[in-house]
């Protein structure tokens, strides 16, 4: 026999100001099986909780209803209160009479009071059928998978490894380093990007707890927090990295060249290559799409049609350690992990979508990242800033901000956050390179939210003499050797025309290609732009809705380097906290399948958004659905979709919900 205690909270005036609490208590008292109904000013306060404890013991209560705020607010608190008396914490039900009643009906006390009574009635009828529930424990694989080897992934990997746990870093490029390795200097301190990044890359490469897998991609992830299993595709490098010493003879002598992606098409690389001088690992891969000998092998394999490609093999002949392995094939590796950190970062917006600016059509209209490569001492021009079209030294350089940002027309309404600052940096540095260069910056607003950012912007104006023009240009076109920029100076309200030698488009950030596919693999959410979605934008910034999957850096939204490092560290802290436990406690409020009722239609398997339901074949050869207790989130979709009513959600059974509904007219 249930002995129910009902505690109605005033929440100061939040509830009591609208709901007639005394009347509510009077009505509820008379319900069957309600042994005690009482009210208190702040139920969640220490005295409030103490009075619940006393009441449970004094009245020998075995069910508790607390009518107060949303269960999201204090359910966990009150479960602890109930548990401290020795009662099972799942014998508690919360009736939400604040968010769902007093707050929304503050204009009508009578209605609010009547509704509060009904909400509590429902909770009382439901709590009768509550059963004691017990969480289970699962083991944790204390090994983290970091996807992406940019600055965010590097920071997360180092922090987790330094906490003493094993880490595997998967990077799809031949080297770690990410976008930061392409930058020349960083704002607002103007310190050299490579100088602060490469020591971290080396630390990662040499860390005993970190296994680095470059030129590899995560293809499949299954399992659940503490127990993930990932399939990782190691692409064929055609170079045995155990034998290779990274001496560099091969890539210096390779005769086959192609435009370098790392230098954004401004320089060339060979078929066997490392993307940049400080690459980690400092060992090359062979680009099979252009290698002459691979082409020859394909020509032989496909019946020798067409012209015979040369049997080059120069790298193999010159390699002092015999590291070139033509028969090396791609390989699928399966590893176990307890947690995953997504740090896949960003790519810059493709400026060829801006035909009005000649993006992609004019060689002298370049992106901000291309200018970084031109300014970098290790870049294709050795740090000499020249026009890509004719190699001339530009004397007038115009910058256009918000290209692929804050532009509804291009489907990119968001601010990319870093472009204002990197453009100020570019202008300052160009003036330092050559004081004769005049810099014009077209901007919509200059956004300098960050430590020392405003000062840096003022430095561009006051010290470097950069000219800022407020307004987005309407058009850029070629006029002889010059590029003409048409725009409006919105501050004086007049059209302006500037003839420049070089135009730099401050392209915004978008998630790296394939981010959406990875999110689907990990069962994590992503937004319309393919940025990852955090579990809570303020309070859970590195978690996702999938337990054990964390997100960090620019894959979540536009971020600068310090933020990426901070988020990488934050994700590492979360992973380390998870790994500091030996087992995980799982929530018992999950779905259970009544095997006798299940007809094996497996509709629930298709419907479950968490991939928590699989199936088994019973001894009498029937298909039945089985719930993985660690993956189930207790959403109830399977219960609602189950035709023979074989699935029940613990704490929210079909019968309990019917009882709640029935209570409204009983």
């Amino acid at each position: 026999m249930a002995r129910i205690g009902v505690f109605v909270c005033h929440c100061g005036t939040n509830i009591a100001g609208t709901v007639d609490v005394t009347k509510v208590v009077e009505v509820i008292k008379k319900l069957p099986m309600v042994v005690l109904a009482t009210d208190s000013k702040y139920t969640c306060s220490e005295p409030g909780q103490a009075s619940i404890r006393e009441a449970i013991i004094e009245n020998n209560l075995n069910r508790v209803v607390i009518a107060s705020c949303s269960p999201r607010m204090h359910e966990a608190t009150f479960r602890r209160t109930v548990a401290s008396t020795g009662l099972n914490p799942y014998l508690l039900e919360i009736a939400n009479i604040r968010e769902q009643c007093s707050w929304v009906h503050s204009d009508d006390k009578e209605v609010a009071t009547a509704k509060a009574i009904e909400i509590i009635k429902m909770a009382v009828s439901k709590v009768i059928r509550h059963e004691p529930l017990f969480p289970t424990q699962v083991e944790i694989t204390k090994r983290a998978l970091i996807i992406g080897g940019g600055i965010t992934g590097i920071q997360a990997a180092l922090d987790i490894a330094n906490a003493g746990y094993e880490v595997v870093v998967v990077e799809r490029e031949p080297s770690i380093g990410g976008r930061m390795s392409q930058l020349d200097k960083t704002f607002p301190t103007l310190d050299c990007s490579a100088c602060i990044l490469t020591p971290k890359m080396v630390d990662l490469g040499q860390h005993p707890k970190i296994k680095l897998m470059t030129y590899a991609e995560v293809k499949k992830v299954k399992g659940f927090v503490g127990n993930f299993e990932a399939e990782i595709l190691q692409k064929a490098r055609k170079v045995d990295h155990l034998k290779c010493t990274g001496c560099g003879t091969c890539w210096q002598k390779c005769p086959q060249k192609i435009l370098s992606q790392f230098d954004l098409g401004l320089g060339k690389r060979t078929a066997i290559y490392i993307p940049f001088a400080q690459a980690v690992p400092p060992k090359p891969v062979i680009d099979v799409s252009i290698c002459r000998y691979i082409k020859y092998l394909n020509w032989v394999a496909t019946g020798q049609e067409g012209k015979k490609p040369p049997e080059c093999r120069i790298c193999e002949k010159l390699c002092p350690t015999g590291a070139i392995t033509w028969d090396q094939e791609e390989e699928l590796i399966t590893e176990k992990f307890g947690a995953v950190v997504v740090a896949t970062g960003y790519q810059t917006y493709d400026h060829s979508h801006y035909q009005e600016y000649g993006g992609g059509a004019y060689p002298d209209v370049i992106s901000g990242l291309q200018l970084e490569r031109l300014m970098s001492a290790s870049g294709p021009t050795g740090g000499e800033v020249i026009r890509p079209s004719d190699g001339a030294h530009p004397k007038t350089v115009a910058f256009v901000c918000c290209v692929g940002s804050r532009d509804q027309q291009k489907g990119r309404p968001y601010c990319s956050k870093v472009c204002c600052m990197y453009t100020a940096k570019h202008a300052i540095m160009l003036r330092e390179h050559d004081p004769e260069i005049q810099c014009y910056i077209f901007y919509i607003d200059v956004r300098t939210g960050g430590k020392d950012f405003e000062e840096f912007y003022l430095r561009a104006i006051d010290e470097a003499g950069v000219i800022y023009i407020k307004g987005r240009p309407s058009k850029i076109y070629r006029d002889g050797k010059k590029l003409k920029i048409l725009g409006e100076d919105a501050l004086i309200g007049r059209p302006v025309e500037i003839a420049a030698d070089l135009v730099v488009l401050a392209t915004g950030m978008e998630p790296s290609i394939g981010a959406d596919e990875l999110a689907r693999i990990l069962n994590a959410s992503y937004d319309t732009y393919n940025f990852m979605v955090e579990a809570h934008p303020k309070l859970r910034p590195v978690e996702t809705q999938t337990d054990g999957v964390f997100v960090a850096g620019a894959c979540v939204g536009p971020r600068d380097i310090p933020e990426c490092v901070a988020h990488g560290g934050a994700a590492a802290a979360k992973v380390s906290a998870l790994f500091s436990q030996d087992t995980l406690t799982t929530d018992p409020l999950i779905a259970v399948v009544n095997q006798a009722r299940c007809i094996g239609c497996l509709l629930c398997v298709a419907i479950c958004p968490f991939k928590a339901i699989s199936y088994e074949v019973t001894r009498d050869k029937r298909l039945i659905a089985v719930v993985n207790e660690s993956l189930c989130k207790g959403c109830g979709l399977c219960m609602a979709s189950c035709r023979p009513k074989a699935v029940d959600l613990r704490g929210f059974t079909n019968q309990q919900i019917l009882d709640e509904v029935n209570s409204l007219w009983l």
């Binding site: 035909q355 009005e356 000649g358 059509a361 027309q409 058009k475 076109y477 070629r478 006029d479 002889g480």
Partner: protein
Amino acid sequence: MKKSRYAYYPGCTLKTSAKEYDISARLVCKALGIELEELKDWTCCGAASAHSIDQLLGIALPALELQAAAKLELPLVAACALCFSRLKFAAHELKEEKVRNLIGEVMGKEISQDHHYEVVHLLQLLDENTDKMKIEKPLHGLKVACYYGCLLVRPKEVTNFDDVENPQTMDRIIQVLGAENVGWDFKTECCGGSHMLVRPDIVVKLSHRLLAQAQQAGADCLAVACPVCHSNLDSMQKTIAAKYKDNIHLPVFYFTQLAGLALGLPPKQLLLDKHFIDPLPLLMNKGLM
């Protein structure tokens, strides 16, 4: 869906200063087996004047034409870019109940809400029918800068014509005709439009930029799809060249005239001799006449 019958709205200029556009358009459509049925008793679309003075009038005038075409149960084709723009605007606005009621009131008849007004420009019509073109005299060697003007493409949500910055509809047609379409940056920049009447200085400046850019891009001539653009670029060209002391000389064709030539229609019928900048020497020079 390809259709072979269209309601045709020539608009005022095609009956006067742009006769050659009207005539060549009809000839080309006939050659392609497309029947144009001219709207009966059509009125002015209001052009730039009506909507800049009175929004309601700017919608009501083209709404008349839309209603007439709807009665014929035919899609409506416009030749003039400004007419096209006004018709598209009216069709766009009439999606709103408030506007429908208001227009219905001034027109004295109810406007049905389920009517979907289909308005196309002659360029789109020809672009859809390039497979029917039997090219008798390919325009080999002719370098054409396709000039669309500002009204066909903008605003995108109203006209939904083509890419706003770099449209290709006319370029595709010109290629089918055997001519070379030169790439240039001013396909959709304004020529000055009807400012010709009140501020010719603005038209001279804007049109000069267009002509200079087309010439710099290597074009022999321009192809246009708007009588106002044609008037500005053709009739003002000598004034412009004199003012800027530029050596500009670019015949300006209606794209329908070029299509007619390539389809083997007699040049005389296409009224090629009606332009201020005589295109005949260029065509003879290229062996196209």
